[in-house]
């Protein structure tokens, strides 16, 4: 298990990444971005992350447009019914994309990338039998706690219907100037 911290030598490269093709084998380690939201650790599949921005880099808008793509705001705190402590100095905007869906979630803190084998992702106990089985892909041991691995499909679920090209962009505040972001060529870490 390897944690690549935000300021670590590995260079998190948490800017916006270009489109890339990733071929993963079953034995390939998985990478997760560990974040805090509402005092809880959450893990986001790095394959779905297009970038991590500060509020300033995101242009202080709800739905930033990056490389011509609109990343609509997803109120993850509300969907998970956790406290919404957005707006702090450590707040980060995580850009997510999967298939045709894109969105951004604001998180309290970004802890870094965790690399581990898929077998190290523990299944959600079967006693959880409600809708949450669709929300999480499992759990990761993290520090003395756990991080719940979010199902990116679920996170972006509400975005799919609204993302039909430029459909909803007219009402979306666009950046006056392109945010100052670091572009990573192929790797998140």
């Amino acid at each position: 298990m390897r944690l690549v911290t935000e300021n670590g030598q590995e260079g998190l490269g948490l800017g916006v990444r270009e489109a890339m093709t990733v071929t993963s084998s079953p034995a390939a380690p998985s990478r997760f971005l560990i974040v805090t939201l509402g005092g809880r650790y959450l893990a986001l599949d790095a394959e779905s992350i297009q970038g991590v921005l500060t509020l300033k880099e995101a242009g202080y808008v709800e739905n930033p447009t990056i490389h011509g793509m609109v990343y609509r705001a997803i109120d993850l705190a509300n969907r998970l019914s956790v406290s919404n402590d957005r707006g702090g100095t450590d707040t980060r905007v995580v850009l997510l994309s999967e298939r045709e869906a894109r969105g951004n979630v604001r998180v309290t803190t970004v802890h870094g990338l965790l690399e581990l084998q898929q077998s190290q992702v523990l299944p959600l106990p079967m006693q959880f039998r409600g809708l949450e089985r669709h929300w999480y892909r499992g759990m990761i041991l993290f520090g003395n706690s756990i991080a719940l691995v979010l199902n990116t499909n679920w996170v972006l679920d509400e975005q799919v219907s609204g993302l039909d090209g430029s459909g909803g962009q007219e009402n979306t505040p666009r950046l006056v100037a392109a945010p100052k972001i670091s572009v990573n060529d192929s790797r998140v870490c």
Partner: protein, 148 residues
């Protein structure tokens, strides 16, 4: 005769139940000792946002993560004491933890012939027994989280 007597004793012993009697919010409850996998100090639970009633957290014990059934909440009670205990039970879907009062649970040998139907609807029970003026329900661990 002697042999028969021994056999009778063994059969009686075999038929009796070992119950673990504990309390939640000051209320006495029992569970079959066979359904218990351990008791330890309660450590902070980790909340898990979800929609399953009374299963809203996990506890981490080393490399193991156990779901928590909030028995106290399901009974509209609050766990008593500053050092609550963790009661681990063998649920059919996997081991599960419950936070119980700090009062040390006691083992109780119970004659199933004295088993009564539990009249309450607040928790799944295999039955109950009378202890003084109290009716002590015997938790049905396999139905925890499914019928409350």
């Amino acid at each position: 005769m002697l042999r028969a007597g021994h056999r009778h004793q063994r059969e009686t012993a075999r038929q009796s139940w070992q119950l673990l009697v504990f309390s939640v919010g000051g209320r006495r409850l029992a569970v079959k000792a066979l359904d218990v996998s351990g008791i330890s100090q309660w450590h902070q639970s980790i909340p898990v946002a979800g929609r399953t009633p009374f299963v809203t957290a996990v506890v981490r014990q080393g490399q193991t993560v156990l779901p928590v059934f909030d028995l106290a909440a399901s009974l509209h009670l609050t766990v008593q004491g500053s050092s609550p205990l963790c009661l681990k039970v063998k649920h059919p879907l996997g081991e599960m933890a419950m936070c119980i009062d700090e009062e040390i649970p006691v083992l109780h040998t119970f004659d199933p012939a004295a088993l009564q139907a539990y009249q309450g609807k607040d928790l799944p029970a295999e039955g109950s027994y009378t202890n003084g003026l109290d009716e002590v329900p015997i938790l049905s661990v396999s139905r925890l989280g499914s019928t409350v």
